[in-house]
């Protein structure tokens, strides 16, 4: 090492990101608000591996033997249960945070792949209803644009208690994105920096939630399933209480889950990672005897078929994608690098979903920018991506000898780190050791 290197030694404690943030805070006097999810290193599904087939487990043939991927949610309670061809759904992302074109693209892609998409804070748009065969309508604390006709038009209702990026925080939408249409849908003055409510206005706690779910079921005449979405905070208790309240599905969103706009301090420091949240939720489902009956949908940092397969092996019934779906339809496209640089970022790094100036036309309400996104082509990209995830998921399931992806189980997994072994409750690779188990 040249002696000069010591003059350029970067502090681990005060690295460039930390210094930049201190300078930014000193200049503006306001906390950092941004989109995307946690960016720091976290335990993830990459810390788990599948064991594959061996003398005692035989694999299935890739093209010849069936490996089913279908899923039904709400059977037995809802008149019209949700039927999905694949256990990979598109997560709730609001119109407002996303352009109408982006919402349409998500609807087209999900529909082509045989899965559902979800509304978000701010209400349901005609674009997404029209292009989504199966549309989950979120029921959020803010109740912006909450129209009971939309609940009746939906294929499922998702009561949002929290989000992984910010368990305990409400949505944010900065003034640049509150244009006339968004303002009208949300009954807000144009251009305000909107901070959504973080708590439902007419119920608190699980006993109230039980009554709220009855009310929602009565309003839609028991037609569609009811999901409850929670940020990964105390997943064991949250899952127990959601089950008791009568949910047909629980969506648990890990701390690395994406967001449209939240305080950076919230994104990076509140909640637990997805890999830790799934086994805790499954423990609740099993203890209450409803595992695989009340469905578990895991979200937060799902990128590949391997992530999907591992979440399912740990006991989830499906996963939900936010950030990855946005990337698939063109977010952070390297072809737009120059334009991202003009905004002080670069392709692959851009996270200012709150700013409303997305050159890809996805997280914006500027008509000129939004019109750059071709919903038909973007929808095709999403459908292709979902197909790849499904093929990867099936590849891994077959390798472990499973004729349905839901037959994957924790016994098919090993952990590469002690942390992952402890959180996922699977043995450290090459051992039978699960930290914390007797």
């Amino acid at each position: 090492m040249s002696p000069q290197a010591w003059h350029h030694r970067e502090s681990y404690t005060f690295d460039r990101n930390v210094i930049a943030e201190i300078r930014r805070a000193a200049n503006t006097g306001i906390y950092r608000i941004r989109g995307w999810g946690a960016k720091r290193e976290l335990p993830t599904f990459d810390d788990l591996v599948f064991l594959g087939a061996s003398m005692s487990r035989y694999p299935l043939e890739g093209y010849r033997e069936a490996c089913a991927t279908d899923l039904v949610i709400g059977e037995g309670r809802a008149e019209r249960p949700v039927r999905l061809a694949i256990p990979i759904t598109i997560a709730g992302m609001s119109f407002g945070s996303l352009s109408a074109q982006a919402k349409e693209a998500l609807g087209r892609g999900a529909t082509a792949a045989g899965t559902s998409t979800t509304t978000g804070d701010g209400g349901m748009t005609a674009e997404e209803r029209g292009h989504s065969e199966t549309l989950v309508c979120q029921y959020l604390p803010s109740r912006y644009g909450m129209n009971p006709d939309d609940l009746r038009r939906a294929d499922a209702i998702e009561v949002v208690v929290g989000q992984g990026a910010k368990p305990g925080g409400g949505g944010m939408l900065m003034g640049q994105k509150i244009n006339e249409r968004v303002a009208e849908m949300r009954t807000l003055p144009e251009g305000i920096d909107q901070r959504s409510a973080c708590r439902h206005p007419d119920w608190t706690g699980p006993d109230d939630l039980m009554i709220k779910i009855i009310e929602l079921r009565e309003i839609v005449d028991w037609q569609v399933p009811i999901y409850v979405k929670v940020g990964a905070a105390r997943p064991y208790y949250d899952a127990c209480l959601a089950i008791k309240a009568g949910a047909d599905a629980i969506v648990v969103d890990g701390m690395q889950g994406g967001t449209a706009a939240t305080q950076d301090v919230f994104i990076e420091h509140v909640g637990i990672p997805t890999i830790a949240a799934v086994p805790e939720s499954v423990r609740a489902l099993k203890e209450l005897g409803v595992h695989r009956e009340v469905k578990l949908i895991a979200a937060g940092g799902i990128r590949s078929g391997a992530d999907v397969a591992k979440a399912i092996a740990l006991g989830a019934d499906a996963v939900s994608l936010g950030t990855a779906a946005l990337i698939a339809i063109g977010d952070n496209d390297p072809a737009l690098d120059e334009q991202y640089r003009e905004l002080g970022s670069a392709a692959g790094f851009w996270e200012d979903f709150q700013a409303g100036n997305d050159p890809a036309g996805i997280t914006t309400q500027e008509p000129e920018l939004a019109s750059r996104l071709d919903p038909e082509l973007a929808g095709r990209r999403l459908a292709n991506y979902l197909q790849v995830l499904t093929l990867e998921l099936q590849t891994l399931a077959r390798a472990n000898g499973k004729s349905h992806v839901h037959n994957l189980e924790p016994e098919d997994l090993a952990a590469l780190t002690v942390e992952a072994a402890a959180m996922a409750r699977v043995p450290l690779a090459g051992t039978e050791w699960i930290p914390g188990s007797p």
């Binding site: 200049n27 109740r143 129209n147 009971p148 009954t187 206005p201 007419d202 009554i211 009310e215 028991w222």
Partner: protein, 236 residues
């Protein structure tokens, strides 16, 4: 024609299904006994008279219907009402009229905490007093209170307007008293008339009320820019 439904015999599902399938007419609900979710999700101009007190979310998300409760109501009376009329003769618990987008809610007695929370266009008239944090984050519509308002009235309020005849224990963040103009007095007269409160309470005159609304100071973040100030001074 009046149809009578007795909740000591019929189930909640039977009641609401019947209401959802009916285009017009008059229903009487007997023996509600505090049941939750009575007459929720109505979409037609049907009138429902409930003989007794109700539980949570009575007349929730009402569109076009008229629901009259002779008694008290639990949490979330007429939550997210879109249009139509909901009236109770007694008191309402928390979050009455929460997030309502339209229509009229009349509470002849008192309302508990967070009455009109997050309201988005509904009009609410309360013959008695309202609990703390009423009109919290209220976005649009009018809350009229003939009695007193407990502390933190209108906290983080947006464009809704709150008229109070009695004492206000305290105003919440960003809520201030505003000047009552002739259009405000007109709105108030119209609402008092529409509410048709029973004689006695009805002696209220619009001029007896004070108006509260948003100071609009929380609408945008305050963002400094020391770098720009430094550049203007020719400093780094």
């Amino acid at each position: 024609m009046t149809t009578s439904i007795d909740l000591s015999q019929a189930t909640l599902r039977e009641l609401n299904k019947r209401l959802h399938e009916t285009e017009e007419g008059h229903f009487v609900v007997r023996n509600p006994r505090g049941a939750h979710a009575i007459a929720v999700g109505m979409t037609t101009p049907v009138t429902v008279d409930v003989e007794g007190s109700v539980g949570y979310f009575c007349a929730g998300m009402n569109m076009a219907g008229t629901v009259r409760v002779d008694g008290n109501a639990g949490t979330g009376l007429a939550e997210n009402i879109m249009s139509g009329l909901v009236r109770i003769t007694g008191n309402a618990t928390m979050s009455a009229g929460a997030t309502g987008h339209g229509g009229l809610v009349v509470i002849e007695g008192n309302a508990g905490a967070r009455c009109g929370i997050s309201m988005k266009g509904v009009d609410i008239v309360v013959g008695g007093s309202v609990g703390h944090m009423s009109a919290f984050m209220a976005q649009a519509g009018n809350l009229v209170v003939l009695g007193d308002a407990d502390r933190d009235l209108g906290d983080s309020i947006y464009e809704a307007e709150v008229f109070v005849r009695g004492k206000v224990a305290s105003l919440g963040s960003d809520c201030v008293e505003k000047e009552m103009t002739p259009p405000h007095l007109d709105t108030l007269s119209r609402l008092l008339e529409a509410a048709a409160l029973p004689a006695g309470t009805m002696s209220a005159e619009p001029s007896d009320f004070r108006l509260y609304g948003s100071a609009r100071e929380l609408y945008n973040f305050h963002v400094d820019d020391v770098d720009a100030a430094a550049a203007a001074k020719g400093r780094p």
